[in-house]
């Protein structure tokens, strides 16, 4: 059981972070941007691999994380810059911007994976067999939290706490921006700065969530908790509280079921959170009818 402790702690820290940010993601309708960022992270992993940085050592883990986070932030800010209106003359709409960045990053990731694999084959010719490339891709796409070491867990917990702290410090600015972005500039709150700050946090959070749920499901951990919480309340503080409770309950139950039934943990957590969402939807339907 003790060997699972870093896995459990990391998952809970990431869930609390996901529950906090997801209120903004849902109400500001950033779910698709989240998908774009998580898929862009795949390109970041490709860059780390082609540079020969593997997550087999502590230095490698931190190096790979830095590159992936950097690439994801660049992708998030790239999406924001592409879709930002220039003096009210929109250059590219957000959907298109996400579509472009997402596809380009995924394509770049696959190309770099292939190049890294052939380079590795060439370098290691006649030596010990290398890690199966397809298995690695699968891990990145769907996550493998069981690989979480104490190093990875410590980094994940520290970053999750940092993101929660920064969100708390900027909570009023974020709420005003997410509630009514078009007027924030008129009140001295730069919408561009706020957008960039939030998307940077979102990019880092998604890379953290990827460790649990992988590229494909990471964004779900930043959507489901708030979607469920907002079915239960129309008040601000309870919304954040319910979102965090639903995120951590989903993560705990998901991990439990995953460990018991030997299921992949990330998808088990996302499925549990989806189930909780359905329960809250049912509660909302019943209470609004009566």
């Amino acid at each position: 059981m003790i060997e699972l402790l870093p896995v459990i702690l990391a998952a809970l820290a990431i869930s609390i972070m996901g529950g906090t940010l997801s209120i903004f993601v849902v109400l500001k309708r950033l779910a698709f941007i989240g998908q774009g960022i998580s898929h862009a992270a795949f390109g970041g992993v490709g860059i780390a691999l082609i540079l020969g940085i593997h997550s087999t050592t502590t230095a490698g883990t931190l190096g790979q994380l830095t590159i992936v986070v950097g690439f994801s932030i660049a992708a998030a800010l790239g999406i924001a810059a592409l879709s930002r209106s220039r003096n009210d003359r929109t250059t590219t709409n957000t959907d298109t911007a996400i579509g472009v960045v997402l596809s380009a990053s995924m394509a770049l990731g696959f190309v770099l994976f292939t190049l890294a694999e052939s380079k590795h084959n060439h370098d290691d010719h006649g030596h010990a067999p290398h890690q199966d490339g397809h298995h690695l891709i699968e891990e990145i796409l769907f996550g493998n939290i069981l690989n979480t070491t104490w190093t990875k867990a410590t980094v994940a917990i520290a970053i999750a706490l940092l993101i929660i702290a920064i969100t708390w410090l900027n909570r009023r600015r974020f709420i005003f921006w997410a509630f009514d972005e078009p007027v924030t500039d008129a009140y001295g709150q730069s919408s561009t700065k706020t957008t960039n700050t939030f998307l940077t946090l979102l990019a880092i959070a998604i890379v953290m969530a990827m460790q649990i749920a992988g590229v494909v499901l990471a964004a779900a951990m930043l959507v489901l908790p708030a979607a469920a919480a907002l079915n239960l309340t129309a008040k601000l503080k309870p919304a954040f509280l319910f979102s965090i409770i639903i995120a951590t309950t989903g993560a705990s139950l998901g991990m439990f079921i995953g460990f018991q039934r030997d299921l992949p943990i990330g998808p088990a957590i996302v499925l549990t959170q989806s189930f909780l969402y359905l329960c809250t939807l049912l509660i909302k339907t019943i209470t609004t009818r009566s």
């Binding site: 003359r89 709420i175 509630f179 009514d180 001295g188 601000l236």
Partner: protein
Amino acid sequence: MTTPVHPAVQINQVSYTYPPTGLGTKPNIALDNINFTIDQHTKLGILGPNGGGKSTLIKLILGILKPTTGSIKILGQSPTKARNQGLIGYLPQKIQADLNWPLSVKQTIALPRACNLKPWQQLTKNDHDAIDHAIELVELQDLINRPIGTLSGGQLQRAMIARAIATNPKLLVLDEPTVGVDIAGQQHFATLIDTLHTQLDLTVIIVTHDMRAIAATTNRVACLAKTLHFHNTPEGLTPAVLAQVFAHDVAGAFGDIHIDAHLADSCDDPTHAHQHQHDCGCDHSNDSGGDT
């Protein structure tokens, strides 16, 4: 030594040109050499056709855009400084706020004030007093705990006006405030603006293409179609002035259709206007640079 009384808004030779939006498009001159001064406590209506530069002028006054040429002072300071000090209240044309947010009416109105606090600070008694006073002025005190998304259109507009005045601004800018409001609502709105103007000692700028809103709420009017024409109407807007303004409005949509050819000519051509000043009831003494 007394502190100088600055005009609420001072605009000197301001032009604004939007850059080309793509290949084969040209820069778009939205405002061309605008000059005007708005004294404090004025209620000014700015009337103009779509594409006449109304929104651009608002963004320049709010400091969201910087003029291509010229300068703007709000209460003697740059628009950015004035805005950051909470001296400008703003009601947008279209309320685009996400009404699904789990915010109460009071939380919504408090947002701009709360954003000026340090993260660890809470709203003080002064803040609460200012917010409560704003809520009373717009008569929403019975709804402060209601979710913002449950308000009717008229109530929501009043909540947004309360948000605009909760920072104790000196200048209130209203962008097309009467779009989609029925006659009874417009009368109520006019009374509300009058109350705010008197009780808060505000300078009010209403930008609109709705002549009824101008006639009901302002004591001075400017007509904006890339350049600016001023009309002082201390006795209120006369039918003659409205006819001129309407000529501009119609011209923006349908070309040079004049309601009254003589009056409209006099406003389109300032040199001509001076000759007919008496006839049209306008005072062009504030026109500067001839055509601006």
